[in-house]
Amino acid sequence: MAEVLVLVDHLDGEIKKSTFELLTAARALGEPSAVVVGPAGTAGKLSEGLKAYGAAKVYVAETDSADFLTPQVEVLAALVGSKDPAAVLIGVSADGKEIAGRLAVKTDSALLGDVVAVGAESATHSVFGGAFVAEAKWNTAHPVITLRPGSVEVENAEGAAVEETVEVPSGAGRSAQVQSREPVTGGDRPELTEASVIVSGGRGVGSAEQFSVVEGLADSLGAAVGASRAAVDSGFYPHQFQVGQTGKTVSPQLYIALGISGAIQHRAGMQTSKTIIAVNKDPEAPIFEIADFGVVGDLFKVAPQLQEEVAKRKG
């Protein structure tokens, strides 16, 4: 069976959930081979997880290079050359998209970006915030495919996870140098793209302090917290929580929008949520057009009451 290269996304010795999704999706195309690029000692911590999700092989490329993303691109390009894989799968993130783009031009492969499903010969895109679904096929060998986190249900599968050490070729061109790195650490709440419930706040929340109303409700539901761009731009909430066209695309079971008008660019990031609840003072707010249940009212009255009800039910 053909190999499928899966780039492992990891932080502090932990594999990101998106990687397990890639390993699951890869099985539609062939046998998953995990590719680990990182500082010395990385692979040891990851091998167990990769084994449990079906990696037949683990290519280990350890390097302390400060070249930004070039080691990943070069290692994958070399493996594409030597192993002739059926495809290369990479998770959608800023780094993932960049690695994919650079790899595609370097190996002259098709690039299928931000797909939500992978088949044997084609992949599915969800475009314009889910307004269209499109099927695309690749016209080259070893297509490079980036998969949107949260689109595939993870399945366990035992893999042999046979390790093979590979060289890190130095790039042909010049690379940007990493001077420092401050990863965002998750905190106690679920990841936005992985959460089954999200409570988001907009400009209507009014201030950073008052976002505690959004957080309180979120915590009672075990939910992630999101924000509109207006809320982020006003400094109410950090930008990695922005939902929408230029923020995250989410599709949870339940999305609760507090003080969000529902501009088209916000809806583009959340309108495929299964159930949408909106609270807004303005009965004309466009968010109500897509809300399964809407309350015209003051979020500072409605949200705490809902939080209380949820707490009561939990007992």
């Binding site: 960049e98 031009v105 339940l254 705490p304």
Partner: protein
């Protein structure tokens, strides 16, 4: 410093966007077209660098249909000095790889470029791949998603801010930098700027002028092909109630009914 800004004309995100039923490409006639908001920010960054570095020049480069001249004029009226427009019937349907390859050819027609600026992600496709691809093809350092950008002598420093955190990157010029939506607020063109833009030079190139093989661009050259596209029925609204002091309880009841809590 010679700065080139890659700008793209995109459908206005405030209008409804469609895929055309024929070849599944973006139906550009169905929507208003504008200079992408993210590229306005890239132009703004270029202008700020120009203002801080005497003797600098800002050139905008766009690949797209004839009407992309509107986007080019907008960049010129903000203050860019000149423009190059790759415009050819044959580019319709070009994908990200083809776009990057074609832009690299256009960049090859310009001399002494120190810095290539771009938006991190166009609002029409969410590819967010072109700037890094251009850098890879040119063998230049790629510094993407800049929230802050400084150039000091021959060194560019970028504070790269993404959902995953902050990375500080440096590189020697020439380099490719893409900016994120938080980097600045783009200026509005002044009346003077709009008048001046009408006289600024815009070089229009065909594929042949730029040395691009027609077989390398367009739908037929695409590295991937969209075989099918379908609109998804828009979600419709459900029940809407006025809060009469029981709004929170009513939501709770609804969620219980849906077995969500």
């Amino acid at each position: 410093m010679n700065i080139v800004v890659l700008v793209k004309q995109v459908p206005d995100t405030y209008s409804e966007r469609k895929l055309s039923s024929g070849d599944h490409t973006l139906d550009r006639d169905a929507t208003d077209a504008v200079l992408d908001e993210i590229d306005e920010r890239a132009v703004e960054s270029a202008l700020q660098l120009k203002e801080a570095n005497d003797g600098s020049e800002v050139t905008v480069v766009a690949m797209g249909p004839d009407r992309a001249t509107d986007a080019i004029r907008k960049a010129l009226s903000m203050g860019a000095d000149k423009a190059v427009h790759l415009s050819d019937e044959a580019i319709h349907g070009t994908d990200a790889i083809g776009t990057a390859k074609a832009l690299v050819k256009v960049l090859g027609t310009l001399e002494g470029t120190d810095l290539v600026l771009a938006g991190n992600e166009a609002s029409d496709g969410r590819t967010g791949a072109v700037p890094a691809m251009v850098a890879e093809l040119l063998g230049l350092p790629s510094l993407t998603h800049a929230r802050e950008l400084t150039v000091d002598g021959g060194t560019v420093t970028v504070r790269r801010e993404t959902d995953d955190g902050v990375t500080v990157l440096t590189a020697e010029l020439p380099a490719v930098v893409s900016v994120n939506e938080k980097i600045n607020e783009p200026r509005y063109p002044s009346f003077k700027g709009i008048m001046a833009a009408k006289k600024k030079p815009v070089t229009t190139l065909t594929l042949a002028d730029a040395g691009i093989e027609p077989s390398d661009v367009g739908l037929s050259a695409a590295w991937s092909t969209v075989t099918e596209s379908n609109p998804k029925p828009p979600k419709s609204g459900g029940e809407k109630v006025e809060d009469e002091g029981d709004g929170g309880s009513k939501i709770a009841a609804f969620l219980v009914g849906q077995k969500l809590i």
